[in-house]
């Protein structure tokens, strides 16, 4: 298993949001987290690369294991964790810098890369995220001049450029139109060859299109976690079935 959650509990002040989550994420597969708003799926995702460290009131117990090693251990460098476990956010958040600088950002922050190496990796990453042909003549222009869908693929390229092992995606298509969404989904299936991906999504069709395994979460717990096809075809839990049928959500 590439990434494992072990009895993850999280509370914001007195409010318990995650109530003991165990989840095994296999290498080079896509795992989708689905469930109604407020069920804790984004919160769980942000536990995986310790983004909650930024929120003083968030208390996390339990552990996340990356290749069997704790991400929360006392000796662990959180910066290194985040380099190995990248994240793409709900709303595209390119930096107010040029397209090149956005993709090169993570590299420049992590070690000594020559200008030629950076240029090479930028092109590779932009090609990898299917953006190269669209932007190759405007690499020095502001990333903010791109469309929403292009911005999100740029954020994916930026994440891919530092060669993480796992990519976490927090509803990456919720701000995109259907065509851009399709392109990002295509991209995810391509990235699966090299990366392990965990995606939070509200869109059940999207989970079915891209995910190998799907976890259904409800009120801070994982109710059911199985192969996507069988989860959607024949859910074992009544709660899952009700949710998939649209009885609540």
């Amino acid at each position: 298993m590439k990434l494992q959650a072990r009895d993850i509990r999280l509370s914001f002040g007195a409010k318990e949001v995650l109530k003991g989550i165990d989840l095994d994420i296999p290498e080079k597969q896509i795992v989708a987290l689905i469930g109604p708003s407020g069920c804790g799926k984004s919160t769980l995702l942000r536990c995986m690369n310790r983004m909650h460290d930024l929120v003083p009131v968030a208390k996390v117990t339990g552990d996340i294991l990356l290749d069997g090693e704790s991400v929360y251990g006392p000796q662990v460098d959180v910066v290194e964790v985040r380099r190995r476990i990248g994240m793409v956010f709900q709303k595209p958040n390119p930096f107010p810098k040029s397209i090149t600088d956005n993709v090169a950002y993570g590299l420049k922050m992590n070690g000594n890369w020559s200008a030629a190496q950076i240029r090479e990796r930028v092109e590779e990453s932009l090609r990898g995220s299917g953006l190269w042909e669209e932007v190759k003549d405007q690499l020095d222009q502001s990333a903010l001049s791109l469309s929403g869908g292009q911005q999100q693929r740029l954020c994916i390229a930026r994440t891919v450029a530092v060669r993480p092992e796992v990519i976490l995606m927090d509803e990456p298509c919720s701000a995109l139109d259907p065509i851009s969404t399709a392109r990002v989904e295509e991209l995810m299936l391509e990235l699966k060859k090299e990366f392990t991906i965990v995606i939070v999504t509200h869109n059940m069709q999207q989970a079915q299109r891209v995910a190998d395994k799907t976890a259904f979460m409800y009120l801070g717990e994982v109710i059911e976690y199985r192969d996507t096809a069988s989860l959607f075809a024949s859910p074992e839990e009544e709660l899952t079935q009700n949710y998939l049928e649209g009885s609540f959500g």
Binding site: V79, Y105, G106, M109, N110
Partner: protein, 282 residues
């Protein structure tokens, strides 16, 4: 006409009137200074020292004094103020202590400038034995400007979207790298604008420099930061209220006022230009 339409007309009318009154006062002040001061301003006025008991000659030492003083103030207050703002905005937790510190800094901005002047005498002139000098005045004005710079800089930093910070951290950047690379650059125009506005206020102050370094009259320029100096606002104060021949030097006073507000206008123009220029690039 319906009553609510009439109410609206009266409402908008009085808002317009209020704006008009505000603008008028500004216009009157500018016109008064410009019309009475323009005649006094010449190349000689700008480049010569005051002569014959300040009834003739120029204000060159005062211009240079104010320029160096403002520079010293900036050197002291901008780095310190921005650093404090970065700490408060990016590192300090939101506790009662930091809230108290913030409130204290905001209140400092309201302390009368003469209090800073007295504080400057006690600390810089006497305790630190800097005597009455450019550096003592610069530090005093720096203190006066600090709360303003801290507050506006912190505001500018808080306006940087949290998504930039998260995006950077998620790429394996350290907090310090994040601050340097994605938080400070977008906040910079706001920080600079705030700093320059704070400085232009300091440049026009008289009370804080009165006891800490400004001289009534000097025939020479300061040669080091430990020298006394002349400054435009104090020179203006002397010419308009303390001079033995006030009527005679009135045009010179207006000329000095015109030079002072022109310099401050220039500073504000720089702030405006920096802001516009930065916006354009992204």
């Amino acid at each position: 006409m319906k009553q609510r339409n009439l109410q609206q007309l009266i409402g908008i009318g009085s808002l317009f009137l209020a704006t008009f009154i505000v603008i008028s006062f500004l216009g009157i002040i500018l016109w008064d200074i410009l019309s009475k001061g323009a005649g006094a301003v010449s190349w000689e006025f700008l480049s010569d020292v005051p002569r014959k008991g300040m009834t003739e000659g120029g204000i060159f030492p005062a211009i240079i004094g104010t320029a160096i003083l403002t520079l010293l103030t900036a050197l002291f207050s901008i780095p310190l103020g921005v650093a404090a703002a970065v700490y408060l905005s990016e590192y300090a937790d939101d506790t009662w202590l930091t809230r108290l510190i913030r409130a204290a800094i905001r209140n400092l901005a309201g302390v009368p400038s003469i209090i800073y002047g007295l504080f400057g005498v006690a600390i810089f002139v006497q305790a630190m034995s800097l005597d009455t000098s450019l550096i003592a005045s610069g530090l005093t004005l720096g203190l006066l400007t600090l709360p303003y710079i801290v507050t506006t800089s912190e505001e500018a930093l808080r306006n940087v979207p949290q998504a930039f910070r998260e995006g950077s951290l998620a790429l394996g950047a350290t907090k310090w790298q994040t601050i340097r690379s994605v938080v400070l650059p977008p906040a910079l125009p706001g920080i600079l604008t705030g700093s320059i506005l704070g400085l232009s206020r300091a440049a026009g102050e008289t009370a804080p420099i009165l006891f800490t370094g400004v001289a009534f009259y000097l025939r020479y320029l300061p040669t080091s930061v430990y020298d006394q100096f002349m400054a435009l606002p104090y020179h203006l104060y002397i010419l308009s209220t303390q001079h033995h021949a006030i009527e005679q030097v009135r045009p010179l006073a207006y000329g000095t006022a015109l030079v002072l507000i022109s310099l401050i206008f220039l500073l504000n123009l720089v702030a405006f230009w920096l802001r516009a220029n930065y916006r354009q690039s992204y």
